[in-house]
């Protein structure tokens, strides 16, 4: 972990666009993740015993973690064991490997998936292997969720008094307030990145009648 403090992060896109942000404005986990990358390594400054956590396993495995110098002593160590449920949605891809989407929000309660077409999920058996159980779901055709979303968008635009053409511009930065109002009216949330839901609204706004 570098002792000097990063100030700005700059991204250069292939079309020449540059986007810059204050490093401190990024979420903490992202700052940590960036500082973990090899390209951020700076010449080593002053080091002390207090900089390092050394972990050792019963099979002789050892790992080192560099810590912030503000750490003073070990508080406690414990292990949480519980059967976790994680949904794994894989999509075939033209790339060498499928795309894998992990779903942590109540995965057993997922009822519909739309990718090109809409499918209703129905439980279709389970395979238990020791302490692990894979619960499979069959996909049954269902009413097109895109059509329903488009209807919902139209209704939301009327209720919020927003012109559909404005959203067709795709100016999600300048019109963020509009996008937020429509998103909330439509009951849409982004799973990982807020821009995804704004892009989806733009797509619907541009869709043909």
């Amino acid at each position: 972990m570098s002792q000097s403090k990063p100030l700005t992060i700059i991204l250069e896109f292939s079309d020449g666009l540059k986007a810059a942000a204050s490093f401190d404005a990024l979420p903490l986990y992202l700052r940590r993740e960036i500082l973990r990358q090899p390209f951020t390594v700076r010449p080593t400054g002053k080091l002390s015993k207090q900089n390092f956590l050394l972990l050792e396993w019963d099979d002789g495995w050892k790992e080192v973690i560099e810590l912030d110098v503000s750490c003073t002593e070990i508080n406690r160590y414990y292990v949480i064991s519980r059967p976790e449920q994680v949904g794994r949605l894989s999509l075939n891809s033209n790339n060498r490997y499928p795309e894998l989407v992990e779903i942590s929000r109540r995965p057993l309660n997922l009822s519909k998936i739309t990718f090109l077409d809409t499918f209703q999920l129905e439980r279709a058996g389970a395979i238990r292997e020791g302490k692990k159980t894979d619960q499979f779901f069959a996909l049954a055709p269902a009413n097109d969720a895109f059509t329903e979303a488009l209807t919902s968008l139209k209704r939301s635009l009327v209720e919020e008094g927003i012109d559909r053409k404005a959203l067709q511009s795709g100016d999600t930065v300048g019109l963020k307030e509009h996008y937020e109002k429509i998103r909330r009216r439509m009951g849409l949330r982004a799973a990982q990145r807020q821009q995804d839901v704004y892009d989806f609204i733009t797509y619907l706004a541009r869709a043909e009648e």
């Binding site: 979420p27 949330r189 990145r193």
Partner: protein
């Protein structure tokens, strides 16, 4: 078979089980709702950091709720409101509870919730316990909630201050309870307290002559003076019956 006229239930980790209250669900839903899903990992990490400071999540909620609002939720009023809503939504009822309550009510045994309610100071009817009981339709069985803040009537939201300042842990709340039950012709040995915590639900009640049942269905907090230990509320149907 235990023959009783009155049965008191503890709230936390007894009637209400917090097993569904998972961080990725609470903070996931809050920050997706607020349009900032990118913040979810940081918020969960901050909440876990608070747990390391205070030891347990219930410890944070009991005495440091303001730090959840500040350190985790940045004092954002909308996030705080959603936190309270999600927290309520994700709480669960103990397994087999409603079936057991139905049986006890049919027997003619009077039912009350007896909660220490340290975590939920607030106006009558707005606290997490009475909101839970109302939202889950349990007011059908429990008309009153006895707490160190007073006895709350869940049907008309009035409060009887006779219990104010007395606690389960000190046992003084059971002294007041024994006195009030006595006014209705119920002696402590004709009353049973069901709960998970030896220090507040079982031992002080037992010392005052109440019958006691330790519920270990959610958490096992160790040995106690309980007359009986159960692991499911369904067992109450084979243990309790109305004293004639």
């Amino acid at each position: 078979m235990m023959e009783v006229k009155w049965c008191g239930f503890d709230y936390g980790q007894c009637i209400m089980e917090p097993g569904g209250l998972r961080n990725h669900l609470v903070y996931g839903d809050i920050y997706k709702e607020l349009g900032a899903p990118e913040l979810i990992p940081e918020k969960i990490r901050n909440y876990r950091t608070l747990k390391e400071k205070y030891g347990t999540y219930s410890g944070i909620k009991e005495a440091h709720r303001d730090e959840i609002y500040g350190f985790v939720l940045d004092n954002d009023p909308e996030a705080i409101e959603l936190f309270c809503k999600k927290e309520q939504e994700l709480l669960e009822m103990g397994e087999g509870l409603e079936d057991a309550l139905l049986y006890l009510q049919a027997q003619g045994i009077e039912l009350q919730v007896v909660s220490e309610m340290k975590k939920t100071l607030g106006p009558v009817g707005t606290d997490i316990v009475s909101r839970f009981l109302k939202a889950r339709g349990l007011v059908t069985y429990f008309k009153e909630l006895i707490t160190p803040q007073g006895k709350m009537n869940l049907e008309n939201d009035t409060v009887d201050l006779r219990y104010k300042g007395f606690t389960k842990e000190a046992g003084t709340l059971y002294d007041v309870l024994a006195e009030e039950l006595g006014e209705h012709g119920v002696q402590p040995h004709e009353a049973v307290m069901v709960g998970d915590k030896p220090a507040t639900d079982i031992n002080p009640a037992h010392d005052r002559g109440f019958k006691t049942i330790q519920y270990k269905g959610f958490i096992d907090l160790g040995e106690s003076k309980a007359d009986v230990v159960i692991h499911s509320f369904g067992e109450l149907k084979t243990i309790l019956k109305k004293k004639g």
